[in-house]
């Protein structure tokens, strides 16, 4: 495993010279990025601050020996430094239990510095006529909506983790049969490192009345599940939604996640997206301790709270500068998250981004700030 990682890291350095004319190398493609992100965290009392720095590299290699076959390897490496008294930096060295095969290497793991690499994708893809078969570590993304994706049962998107848009992969296989130009049938299976954590599901996707629809059914962590999603529009506004139901087990009740959203692009490059999420397992009343609000999200637990509303507004001031804010409110628990960001393109492949996350909640009848996080990121894409 170390050899593979070292090979890819070497290729990553070589790619800076290759990247310029990568399209001319017909069978072999390489791209990726290197990011440096300064992180800043303040607790609710505004007294304790923590600083950290994350160097983050991703290298994506694609090999196309013929029109039908594609091989892919993607490696993500991170060096995290933190001045925190405890060891929050250690958390990035924890392996992802969704991955059955351990392809992570922790190069350095000290009190304040962690350096780790992981093979994020490693698959072979075969296409022939109406069939497509992909085996290995891959991202199986069945989401249709923007913020929350109940149908994305193989690996949910945590919308707070803005720095990891690719999401982790799962180890498994996927077979797609294209029934016609507007419909397909897909079976996917993911084998995880958890004893009863495997996922197998069948999805049928089709297009009707200018809407994309999908229905899916399968087994998620030993429990049957069914879901449906749609993406279309009402007038000129987008209208999307997803619902997923996990049937009751011996020691649990049925679990429903439902999201709906609408979006619109206004003249002057204003974009607005309004969405809601209902999670029947979520908290619906005030909490006594901030720890009750668990933001470790999973396909079953897309939000810790029952009712959630999010309003995202993006304004593009110029092709180089855009700003965005998201306001998330979970009534009942009175959780409120404020997520502003600014994106600035310094040069063709160089971006400077500022992100902020402020968390507020009502704890013991007292609505207050819980935590503020700031991130300043420079990203070079190649």
């Amino acid at each position: 495993m170390k050899k593979l990682l070292l090979l890819v890291l070497n290729l990553s350095l070589a790619s800076f010279s290759l990247a310029q004319d990568s399209t001319t190398v017909s069978k072999f493609f390489i791209n990726g990025y290197i990011k440096d992100m300064q992180t800043f965290s303040i607790d609710s009392s505004f007294k304790n601050t923590e600083w950290g720095n994350l160097v983050h590299n991703r290298v994506n290699l694609k090999w196309k020996p013929s029109d039908n076959i594609t091989g892919a390897v993607e490696v993500r490496s991170r060096i995290f430094y933190s001045d925190a008294p405890e060891l929050p930096a250690g958390s990035i060295a924890i392996r992802n239990v969704n991955e059955y095969v351990n392809m992570q290497e922790v190069w350095v793991n000290t009190h304040s510095v962690v350096f780790t690499s992981n093979v994020e994708r490693l698959y072979l893809d075969y296409r022939s006529g109406k069939f497509n078969f992909r085996v290995g570590r891959q991202r199986i993304n069945w989401g249709m909506a923007t913020t929350w994706n109940p149908n994305d049962i193989f690996n949910s998107y945590n919308f707070l983790d803005f720095d990891y848009e690719e999401r982790p992969g799962t180890d498994g296989a996927k077979l797609t049969y294209i029934t016609n130009n507007t419909s397909s049938l897909e079976f996917a299976y993911a084998h995880t490192a958890l004893s009863n954590g495997n996922i197998g599901a069948l999805k049928y996707a089709f297009n009707k009345w200018n809407y994309d629809f999908q229905i899916l059914t399968g087994v998620y962590y030993d429990k049957p599940t069914v879901g449906a999603g749609w993406a279309g529009y009402i007038g000129d506004a987008g209208f999307k939604g997803e619902a997923q139901y996990f049937f009751a087990g011996r020691d649990s009740t049925g679990h429903l996640n439902l999201t709906m959203e609408t979006d619109y692009k206004f003249a002057g490059d204003w974009y607005i997206n309004f969405g809601l999420l209902y999670n029947n397992y979520g908290l619906s009343g005030p909490v006594n301790t901030a720890n009750a609000i668990d933001l470790n999200l999973s396909p079953k637990n897309l939000m810790p709270t029952k009712w959630n509303f999010i309003l995202t507004t993006t304004k593009q001031f110029s092709p180089r500068l855009s700003a965005s804010t998201a306001l998330l409110l979970s009534p009942g628990t009175n959780l409120f998250i404020f997520l502003p960001s600014v994106q600035y393109n310094l040069a063709t492949n160089l971006d400077l981004d500022l992100f902020w996350q402020s968390f507020f909640a009502e704890v013991n009848n007292d609505f207050k700030a819980m935590r503020h996080l700031g991130y300043l990121r420079v990203k070079f894409s190649f």
């Binding site: 791209n31 990025y33 296409r127 690719e166 999401r167 619109y264 692009k265 393109n345 063709t348």
Partner: protein
């Protein structure tokens, strides 16, 4: 009375013939630019007073209903694909490995930060079918005599403009100038076409600039590096599945 009826009849027939004539001119020019199918490699340059950005893409088009655009540069957008099928538009985002369906309100808005709209790129509306046309006069552009044609969107057409004035070269049917007006009748964008040369089997402009009316020093240029017309492309090429395999 009879004479008056006859007069009205003849006048209306004459006007209808003239209208058809304008429609035919627009259709001829449009068919020339698009062919039955069209594949192009192009550079899109967004120019602002103090800086500019360049993007490269490949496009495939078939009729009015099917279009695909693959971005090949810059690195951070490489592999992004736009697919249009009839009135629906999707984009494939390779970093997310996901297809996102776009709301119709995106169509009239700027495409990827350029001065071209989504509609300009994927041609959701058809200059020939979605408008009523009338000849408004003649003009001289780049030494070529052109028809000036007023285009008013048909009531049922999904067009963001209230009026488009297009100038088409009389000899070679080249769209040399196009002005787009908003609902208040205000000029929004002007498109000029240059660098007329033979590409593949036809004589066409190969550089287009879109100039927003109210923004000084701003424009976007689109330059054809290569174009191929009337190569057969199967409808199954224009599918969501295909967007994932182009890069």
């Amino acid at each position: 009375m009879r004479l008056r009826t006859l007069f009205v009849l003849i006048t209306s027939l004459f006007l209808r013939a003239a209208g058809q004539n304008a429609t035919e001119i627009v259709k001829k020019a449009d068919d020339k630019m698009r062919g039955n199918t069209m594949q192009a490699d192009m550079v899109i340059r967004t120019i602002r007073p103090t800086w500019s950005r360049e993007m490269q893409c490949k496009t495939w088009m078939k009729g009015n209903n099917l279009a695909m655009i693959l971005i090949t540069a810059p690195a951070k957008d490489k592999g992004v694909v736009f697919l249009k099928r009839k009135k629906e538009v999707w984009t494939w985002v390779p970093s997310l490995e996901r297809t996102v369906k776009l709301p119709p309100s995106m169509m009239g808005q700027n495409w990827m930060g350029t001065d071209f709209t989504n509609d300009d790129l994927v041609k959701e509306s058809s200059v020939a079918e979605d408008y009523n046309h009338s000849i408004a006069g003649d003009t001289l552009i780049q030494g070529r005599t052109c028809y000036i044609i007023n285009m008013i969107p048909k009531p049922e057409a999904a067009v963001v403009w209230s009026k488009v004035i297009i100038c088409i070269d009389k000899k070679d049917f080249l769209e040399l100038n196009c002005r787009f007006y908003d609902e208040d009748g205000k000029l929004v964008n002007t498109m000029n076409s240059y660098d007329i040369k033979t590409m593949d089997d036809r004589f066409i402009p190969t550089r287009f600039e879109m100039i927003p009316a109210d923004k000084k020093g701003q424009k976007t240029e689109m330059i054809y590096k290569s174009v191929r017309y009337n190569q057969p492309i199967d409808d199954s090429f224009f599918t969501v599945e295909k967007t994932q395999t182009l890069y």
